[in-house]
């Protein structure tokens, strides 16, 4: 097959590939439900509202022919997208909010690093720059402009208590350490970091120096976040394209997304 010569040829090829399922769509999104846990901050801070749904009518006297709901949630609920403005380090960057981010950023390739074995052993497992370099030896250099998705199989913890995994010292869930974040931001120019856990940072990241390195350094450099992803085990280490378009909220800091991956069969 000759290489496509014009953009329309590319799209025609893509259409055909989707129709024949040479390209498949993998849904990376958790169902937005009142049962899905939301991030917990210490109680003296104001909290992110969980997803809630109130029925407007259900083919009844409140609306005889139609069923619909009013929904409410915080910007950082369910499978969601973080914009640079979310963190104080990213507050002065240009085009840092959901309405001003370029739509081009919502479609990007992904590198998937499988840390599921380590996370199974250690809920506080930290992904390091050295671990990323080992991954590169096997799969090649992480391309600039790609997502780095950390697969931990954390999304398979369907019990919210196990998913949150709190004890008296706080939350225990895997994430990147500062070396990994610095490496990805400054040496690989990734577009952002994605995780299966409730945040892009590890559960204990409040105690890191600096605290919350993934939020602080990623957003401070205009990079993005995706969290509460699932089905990362269905993605190849390289070659998937992520489509993750947040709601276009004026000055929005984040939004639930329907995150999709396009993968070749």
């Amino acid at each position: 097959m000759s290489a496509p010569e014009t953009p329309s040829d590319v799209l025609r090829e893509m259409t055909k590939a989707l129709a024949t399922q040479r390209l498949r769509i993998v849904d990376l999104t958790q169902t937005l439900s009142p049962r899905f846990p939301q991030i917990v901050l210490p109680p003296e801070f104001d909290q992110c509202a969980p997803f809630r749904m109130e029925e407007i009518s259900h083919y009844d006297d409140r609306g005889p022919g139609w069923y619909w709901n009013n929904i409410s949630f915080g910007e950082h609920t369910g499978t969601h997208f973080d914009a640079p403005i979310h963190w104080i380090t990213g507050r002065d960057l240009p085009n840092n909010a959901l309405d001003s981010l370029s739509a081009q950023t919502f479609v990007a390739p992904a590198c998937v690093v499988d840390c599921s074995a380590e996370a199974k052993q250690d809920a506080d497992f930290l992904l390091t720059a050295d671990r990323l370099k080992l991954w590169e030896k096997e799969h090649g250099r992480i391309p600039a402009g790609s997502w780095l998705l950390m697969r931990t199989d954390w999304s398979k913890r369907t019990d919210p208590v196990a998913y949150q995994n709190f004890d008296a010292t706080g939350q225990h869930s895997p994430g990147p350490d500062i070396t990994a974040v610095e490496f990805l931001v400054h040496e690989r120019q990734v577009i952002g970091f994605g995780s299966e856990t409730i945040g892009t940072d590890a559960g204990q990241a409040a105690n890191f120096r600096p605290p919350y390195p993934c939020h602080s350094i990623m957003h401070g450099n205009g990079r993005l976040g995706l969290q509460c992803l699932c089905n990362l085990d269905l993605l190849p280490p390289t070659g998937a394209i992520i489509v993750a378009a947040p709601l276009k909220i004026l000055n929005g800091s984040g939004s639930p997304v329907r995150a999709l991956a396009i993968v070749s069969s």
């Binding site: 009142p34 049962r35 846990p37 917990v40 104001d46 909290q47 509202a49 969980p50 809630r52 749904m53 109130e54 029925e55 919210p160 208590v161 998913y163 949150q164 995994n165 709190f166 004890d167 008296a168």
Partner: protein
């Protein structure tokens, strides 16, 4: 001697449900005032300001001198049963379901004769008795004569149990069992002989010290309940709604802010979501089944308790948004009471002052211990009252509010 109440048998599911009926509930404006006093736990009759004659039943003018200056005055209740009878027939549906009923005339020591239900342990006339005022299923004051001294198992009397909501052998839902008050309530209800305590928990990933011990009580079952989530409330009602005899709504969100000291409305919204809308969701999901079961066999559904706050009556500006949410809940609970009354279910409102928990760390004592609150709730159910003000602060503020609500508003400014 009253027979000890035995653990009731399960309802025979093929027999029709006994539907709730009410004793006659119409009262004069004067008689409603007697009911209002009873609702707050006081037995009062009118006394003539001019001639001193006690009045019964309540009326607009003195039976002796026609003066209209009648003042409500506490009555001790001691007297002599001068005649008694057994009622075998009534055209009132409520009494038809409950005859035979013992009734009697009691001469109170204040020199007035009253008509009263007779406790099963009352001897035949003539005999010394103690008359108490209780709310009946209609929510109106009626009198019941008890034997002069306590007898074993007195509280298990059939008629007395119609007028009260003793947790003994009853199934109770506590809507937030993880909090300090919730843990204390579970413990107190267990001690009071509740048959089953459903311990509602929200956000199960947050662990609370002490809660493990509560879950190990033999009659406690943990159930998920998010009052902010309509679906969660409906799911629990679908599972246990047809079995709850007493619902105790102690769930609350409590922060210490006024208007000016915290920007935005998110804290206030969170308080309203649980303290006000949470009550609304519970009422819509659990109310109908409880109303339907209000005359169900030997253990009908009987009471609904709201833990409000004394600051529902008059705002504490330093906790202004919390007080506002509790005021909203108070208003809604009055609607709930009017609706539940149609089936004879008692709505009990509890108005504590500051409770000794993590959200009142900087409030100086006296603060109400969670165990004291729980004890007061159980006692309110056993006594069959509607409104209680447990603790010194609540009593003090309630009295000031009754005397001069406007002056109290000003007193609260700097507290």
């Amino acid at each position: 001697m009253t027979d000890t109440l035995k653990r009731p048998q399960k309802r025979n599911p093929v027999l029709p449900l006994r539907l709730p009926t009410l004793p006659p509930g119409a009262r004069s404006r004067a008689a409603i005032q007697m009911s209002a006093a009873v609702a707050e736990g006081r037995f009062e009759l009118q006394k003539c300001h001019d001639c001193g004659q006690l009045q019964y039943p309540p009326r607009d003018a003195c039976t002796t001198c026609l003066s209209i200056k009648l003042e409500w005055t506490p009555v001790d209740g001691r007297g002599e049963l001068i005649s008694d009878t057994l009622l075998h027939h009534s055209n009132e549906l409520y009494y038809r379901q409950r005859v035979p009923l013992r009734l009697g005339l009691v001469r109170l020591q204040e020199n007035i004769t009253v008509l009263a239900h007779l406790h099963g342990d009352c001897p035949q006339a003539t005999a010394p008795v103690r008359v108490r005022a209780h709310l009946d299923k209609s929510g109106q004051a009626v009198l019941i004569a008890l034997p002069a001294t306590d007898t074993p198992n007195m509280a298990d009397d059939r008629i007395l149990r119609e007028m009260t909501s003793d947790p003994k052998f009853r199934k109770v839902l506590v809507t937030d069992a993880k909090s300090a008050t919730g843990q204390a309530l579970c413990k107190a209800l267990s001690d009071a002989g509740a048959d089953m305590i459903w311990a509602g928990i929200a956000e199960p990933w947050k662990q609370t010290p002490g809660f493990d011990a509560i879950t190990k009580l033999p009659n406690v079952t943990v159930v998920p309940l998010e009052l902010t989530d309509n679906r969660s409330v409906q799911d629990l009602a679908a599972s246990i709604g047809a079995k709850v005899d007493i619902l105790i709504n102690n769930a609350e969100f409590h922060r210490n802010t006024g208007i000016a000291d915290r920007p935005g409305t998110e804290t206030a919204r969170a308080e309203m979501e649980i303290n006000y809308l949470g009550l609304m969701r519970l009422a819509q999901s659990f109310g109908p089944a409880m109303r339907a079961r209000a005359a169900d066999g030997s253990v009908p559904s009987t009471a609904w308790v709201n833990i409000l706050s004394i600051y529902a009556l008059s705002s504490l500006p330093s906790q202004g948004t919390f007080a506002a949410s509790k005021a909203a809940a108070l208003s809604l609970s009055q609607t709930l009471r009017a609706e539940m009354r149609q089936a004879g279910i008692r709505v009990v409102n509890v108005f504590p002052g500051p409770i000794d928990d993590e959200w009142t760390q900087l409030v100086p004592p006296p603060k109400l211990a969670p165990a004291a609150l729980a004890k007061a709730v159980v006692k309110a159910l056993q006594d069959g009252v509607e409104d209680i003000y447990p603790g010194d602060i609540a009593q003090d503020l309630f009295n000031k509010w009754r005397q001069n609500a406007k002056a109290l508003e000003r007193e609260m400014w700097d507290q």
